[in-house]
């Protein structure tokens, strides 16, 4: 890494550390390539062959015309002063060009249709696959790293599938065509000129690789710089609060300098490429001039060539570089595609940890009777989260789960939604073992309201409708009214049509929570799970929410998880959990009278409050 510039070394250059995805390319791997090519299969009977044929037509024209001009026009027509022949030739070439024009139009069209369809398919496949993956998958990865695979990694396959494959064919055909033609015209001259081929190959591979490496380091520097810019902007208020502007400025200057230096280095190397290429072309031309004119001097009868051959050679030398250069690029593209596809396939190979059985039961009407029968569960081998839990929640009941962090409250909720399968025992709803019902029908009857609700960018109306995409505007408004959200929505500038987004500050935490209640109500679930739903809300709003909650829970089985005990006193049954076991259960009154675990839990909370 290049060191900071000539100025005084700052001690803040190591202030921040960003993890960067370094593997931009990977060695070629046939198995993986094959797996990628399978995505071409749906198009192997239409766009793929059509594009290849169109490509062959225009390539053939490109190869034939120089011969016609050199061998026929110059050597025969012009040399013999045959104007008629020249006219025919001109018309002939005109027709060929027209053919090539048509070929090109369709090649570009079909190649893009092919490429875009494949990219669409891969992206759709990956996205749909990811939707089905379990919580565990998302727990262990940042949103950014998943996003990069769906967007950037797939995009880096775009070139390969659009132009790459067809160009590869085209370039091979062109190159082989040129070599064959040159050898037919004059094996001697062809052989002499072919000495530049190794030079060209060397340039395309070695020099290019060196250049590519230096650009990679530019990209790494840039992504470091961008990571810092992004974080710096998001944390700007903290930076200003702690008046760290100057220190951060020094850090950024360091990053910026590293970026500048690596860029300068890459530019220098890149600038060498063209001169070298042109030099190798020039050597070819000099061979042509020297040896070519000597062969003309020798004469055709003595194994020499005609002027037309010379001209044709001159044309083809000019055409040589392009395909070789593109083949070199193609190779680079392949290596990048390898890295990208490896990351894509890694996700595609992830299996959801809950599977649907064949012929699974489909819930049409769920009553909401939940039964845990000796359920044991552990997230990993070492720690058991639930020990032989047996509870029965009758349809329509509201139950509460209380306990310290890690007591297993959320695990119970996750098992009801079947985000995980129990390690032992069974969870049943309406008497059906959850392993024997379809996931979609199960989850569509269960709504979970979380502590942090996500607001999608769009209108308030669309955000509530997320709970049930088929709901009419009236139904949405009705749901908002029931949970008490209508009031604040009406006060917004555009009412239900107000545009909101996750990071926007239009909605307060309490208002967001009311929206999520409306969403849940609209989904009309049989079972409702409130997971710390009211934790970060001010008291006045919480009172409103408690009222809304009463209307929301009506006629549904409800499971409320809460740290703060004040929110659960109305529950039919309260389960006190500790380290994966149920210590006691009963109504608030019963448990308070018992003066055991629940009572001491409540008491300790107030002791804490008093002590604060």
């Amino acid at each position: 890494m290049a060191k900071g510039s000539n100025e005084v070394e700052s001690k803040h250059l190591q202030r921040f550390h960003y993890t960067l995805d370094q593997a931009i390319e990977k060695p070629f791997n046939w198995k993986q390539m094959w797996r990628l090519l399978v995505y071409l299969k749906p198009y192997s009977k239409n766009y793929l062959p059509a594009a290849v044929i169109a490509m062959l037509i225009s390539t053939a024209v490109r190869l034939i015309v120089p011969i016609l001009i050199g061998k026929v026009a110059i050597d025969v027509a012009i040399a013999d002063k045959d104007i008629t022949m020249l006219t025919y030739l001109v018309i002939g070439i005109g027709v060929l060009y027209l053919l090539s024009y048509v070929g090109n139009v369709y090649r570009i069209k079909w190649v893009n249709i092919l490429g875009q369809n494949v990219i669409y398919d891969i992206r759709q496949h990956l996205f749909s696959h990811i939707q089905r993956l379990s919580h565990r998958f998302f727990d262990s990865r940042s949103a950014g790293s998943i996003l990069v695979r769906i967007m950037n990694d797939i995009n880096s396959l775009q070139e390969l599938f659009t132009n790459g494959i067809i160009n590869l064919l085209m370039d091979v055909v062109t190159l082989v065509g040129i070599i064959v033609i040159l050898f037919v015209l004059s094996p001697k001259l062809a052989l002499a000129i072919m000495v530049i081929l190794p030079l060209m190959f060397y340039l395309t591979t070695k020099l290019r690789r060196m250049i590519r490496r230096s650009w990679q380091s530019v990209r790494i520097q840039q992504s470091r710089m961008n990571s810092h810019l992004n974080e710096g902007l998001q944390g700007m208020r903290i930076t200003q609060s702690f008046s760290q502007e100057a220190e951060n400025g020094e850090y950024f200057h360091g990053v910026n300098t590293d970026n500048f230096n690596s860029w300068k280095d890459a530019t220098k190397k890149s600038a060498m490429f063209r001169p070298f290429v042109e030099m190798s072309n020039a050597i070819g031309t000099i061979i042509l001039i020297a040896y070519g004119s000597y062969l003309i001097l020798v004469g055709v009868e003595n194994g020499g060539i005609e002027i037309g051959d010379f001209v044709t050679f001159a044309f083809f030398i000019g055409m040589f570089w392009d395909p070789i250069s593109r083949l070199g690029q193609m190779y680079n593209q392949m290596l990048m595609a390898m890295a990208a596809s490896e990351r894509i396939f890694e996700f595609l190979d992830e299996r959801p940890n809950v599977k649907e059985q064949e012929g699974a039961h489909e819930f049409i009407d769920m009553i909401g009777d939940i039964e845990f029968d000796k359920v044991e569960f552990s997230y990993d081998q070492e720690r058991i989260a639930l020990h032989e839990i047996s509870i029965h929640i009758q349809a329509g009941q509201t139950i509460a789960l209380v306990g310290h962090t890690g007591s297993g409250k959320s695990t119970i909720a996750n098992l009801i939604s079947r985000f995980y399968d129990p390690t032992k025992g069974t969870v049943k709803i309406d008497g059906y073992d959850l392993k024997q019902v379809t996931l979609a029908s199960l989850r569509s009857k269960i709504s979970v309201v979380l502590q942090d609700t996500f607001i999608f960018s769009g209108t308030i109306m669309e955000n509530i409708r997320f709970g049930n995409p088929n709901a009419t505007n009236e139904e949405v408004i009705q749901a908002a009214k029931v949970v008490g959200a209508d009031e604040f929505i009406q006060r917004l500038a555009n009412g239900y049509e107000t545009e909101v987004e996750e990071r926007g500050n239009i909605l307060s935490a309490g208002e967001r929570q009311l929206l999520s209640f409306a969403r849940a109500l609209l989904a009309n679930p049989s079972i409702l799970i409130l997971d710390e739903a009211t934790a970060s809300i001010d008291t006045e709003t919480e009172v409103k929410i408690q009222e809304a909650l009463g209307r929301l829970l009506k006629g549904r089985t409800a499971i409320i998880i809460a740290h703060r005990l004040s929110t659960i006193r109305e529950a039919d049954t309260i389960f006190v959990l500790e380290q994966g076991r149920v210590l006691e259960s009963g109504s608030h009154e019963e448990l308070m009278d018992k003066r055991e675990e629940y009572f001491s839990l409540v008491k300790s909370q107030f002791q804490m409050l008093d002590a604060m």
């Binding site: 012009i78 070439i93 570009i108 944390g235 702690f242 962090t405 979609a440 996500f454 604060m612």
Partner: protein, 583 residues
């Protein structure tokens, strides 16, 4: 051009790179055109006139020229690139420092994504134009002029016939560029939408799964995915319509050349060598012409980029330091004297005529619903905003009398959502005071009740926090944020809803820590929970930017007001417990 003039300070000091680059470009262009001439000479003079003894000379001249050209090409490209990257190097530093000076008011209305795209895409657009665009324009003009001159020198009528199709090419190129650029913009936009769609889906995955809306999401995604495909294909159709046409026009010129040139050769008016040279020259003109539209478009895009960059560079810094600002130790007494604050003209005032006095070392509690103005009060103390009316004083002096650094170094902030940076835990705690010793860092962590859990981490204080401090629980992050605030040893401490997002036990721990920390400092506690602020020396109950009640906890709890109502809700179970315990 005015836009570029305003940015002149960033590129003009490096003009020598640019001018040298153009100097070398001149050689490159002239020598490029020499190639067909050599070909012509070889054919006409050597081959047809049988003067083969000239071959070594021709070869030597050609080789020499190509070497010169190689060197010139290198310097032309390298210096041109250097011009651009040096300019944006300076520009980036300037942008970064500017952004750090802009006030909260600026960030209230700015989106991170938008600023980011200016700092990346627009800076890149500007660089590309400086490095490449401008000199490319010169190159194209130069190449066309020189090639045309050579053609006219060889044969005026043939040059005219060959170039007859040029206006058509001009029209096609113009049409193509007019269509293709908006289409590209649509692709980018559509890609942006697809990106947002996926990003929201992943960030909101818990919500998606909790309402089992996966199929709905897949449906929405495939709409965006298809939209991107369609936009891409539309662009490629434009491409497929015009690009082969351009090539065809070029080829048409070649046919015209063959027909008329062949006739001229047969007629003896033109040498074969000249005819062959023409075939190369045609493409020296056609090629650049096809690119002209692209370059012109680069120019207008660079202009737009430059304007967006200027918007940042010229944004008003509304919180500035007077020259006479002082640097003096702050004891920490805070006075609000009839303060009114309005964020923007269209909004209601966030604070209305607020007055209070917080003597040094006292604790002030602020309670009230969201939007009542609690946070605004604390942001005026640090001078993140300026009051519309009235005055905020610290130690008897208006806050604007102090240097910003002096003022802010004296105030420790803990926010509801702790923002941690991508660096070690140690560096995060020392964020506000990078020079503190290891002992001081550990001491701050201990006082924030963070030391124990930090020591349990595999790398202790050296543990790296990634993307927004992932891997830590909310309570842990909050305790690090508290340690960070303590570490600067502030005279004034602001706790803005610091404990609402953590569970009860953690809150208890944090509150214990805070009690210790607040000793000897003027503290402002914003909270929903009465338990968090009942020990305050004065509690202000806020509603819609006004103080509706004030006093100690003991007074307020009997005052029959909002405070009492909140108290009753939060403590209703308490009575019951007392009762049962007595029983």
């Amino acid at each position: 051009m005015d836009t570029f003039k305003k940015l002149k300070q960033f590129f003009w000091p490096y003009k020598k790179y640019f001018l040298l680059s153009i100097f070398f470009l001149f050689f490159v262009t002239v020598i490029t055109v020499v190639y067909p001439i050599i070909l012509q000479q070889t054919i006409d003079i050597v081959v047809l006139a049988d003067r083969y003894e000239l071959i070594p000379y021709i070869s030597a001249v050609f080789l020499l020229l190509m070497i010169i050209k190689g060197v010139a090409t290198f310097y032309h490209q390298y210096l041109g690139d250097l011009f651009g990257i040096t300019a944006v190097y300076k520009l980036r530093d300037e942008l970064y420092n500017k952004l750090q000076k802009l006030s909260f008011k600026y960030y209230d209305n700015a989106k991170t994504g938008d600023i980011m795209s200016r700092l990346t895409a627009d800076v890149e657009g500007f660089r590309f134009f400086l490095s490449f665009g401008f000199s490319e324009l010169i190159r194209i003009v130069l190449l066309i002029v020189v090639s045309l001159s050579v053609m006219f020198y060889f044969s005026t009528p043939l040059a005219l016939v060959t170039m007859a199709a040029m206006p058509f090419l001009g029209v096609v190129v113009y049409q193509f560029d007019k269509r293709v650029h908006p289409a590209f913009r649509k692709i980018r936009k559509s890609f942006g939408r697809l990106n947002t769609r996926v990003q929201e889906n992943i960030s909101g995955m818990n919500t998606v799964k909790s309402l089992s809306r996966e199929d709905f999401e897949i449906g929405r995604f495939s709409n965006s995915n298809d939209n991107y495909r369609q936009n891409y294909l539309k662009t490629s159709y434009i491409w497929s319509k015009y690009f082969p046409l351009m090539e065809f026009i070029g080829n048409f010129c070649a046919i015209a050349l063959l027909a008329y040139g062949g006739y001229l050769v047969v007629d003896g008016q033109l040498s074969i060598g000249a005819l062959v040279a023409f075939f190369s020259l045609v493409w020296y003109i056609m090629g650049p012409l096809m690119n002209l539209g692209f370059v012109v478009n680069q120019f207008s895009q660079a202009k737009a980029s430059a304007e967006r960059l200027l918007e940042i560079l010229e944004a008003k810094e509304d919180i500035t330091e007077e020259n006479t600002a002082i640097n003096q130790r702050i004891e920490g007494s805070v006075t609000f004297d009839h303060v009114t604050l309005t964020y923007s003209k269209d909004d209601d005032s966030a604070l209305k005529d607020i007055s209070f006095d917080a003597p040094s070392g006292k604790v002030i509690g602020l309670i009230g619903s969201t939007g009542s103005g609690k946070t605004s009060i604390t942001q005026l103390i640090t001078r993140f905003y300026e009051p519309e009316k009235g005055e905020v004083r610290i130690d008897g002096r208006p806050v604007s009398d102090y240097q910003l650094k002096t003022l802010r170094k004296a105030i420790g902030f803990v926010l509801q959502e702790p923002f941690l940076f991508s660096t070690s835990i140690k560096a995060n705690i020392a964020y506000g005071a990078p020079d503190v010793s290891e002992e001081q860092i550990i001491d701050a962590a201990k006082r924030a009740q963070a030391h124990d859990f930090i020591m349990k981490m595999p790398n202790g204080y050296e543990t790296m926090l990634g993307e927004r401090g992932m891997g830590l629980s909310g309570g842990q992050k909050q305790r690090i944020a508290i340690a960070r605030a303590i570490c600067i040893n502030p005279s004034i401490l602001v706790l803005d809803d610091a404990t609402s997002a953590v569970d009860m036990e953690t809150e208890f721990k944090i509150q214990q820590a805070l009690k210790e920390v607040m000793k000897g400092r003027t503290s402002f506690i914003i909270a929903h929970r009465i338990s968090s602020l009942k020990h305050a020396d004065e509690i202000l109950v806020l509603e819609d930017g006004e103080v509706i009640e004030r006093g100690t906890h003991d007074f307020l709890v009997e005052n029959q007001g909002t405070y009492q109502r909140i108290y009753n809700i939060q403590y209703r179970d308490r009575e019951e417990i007392m009762k049962r315990q007595r029983a």
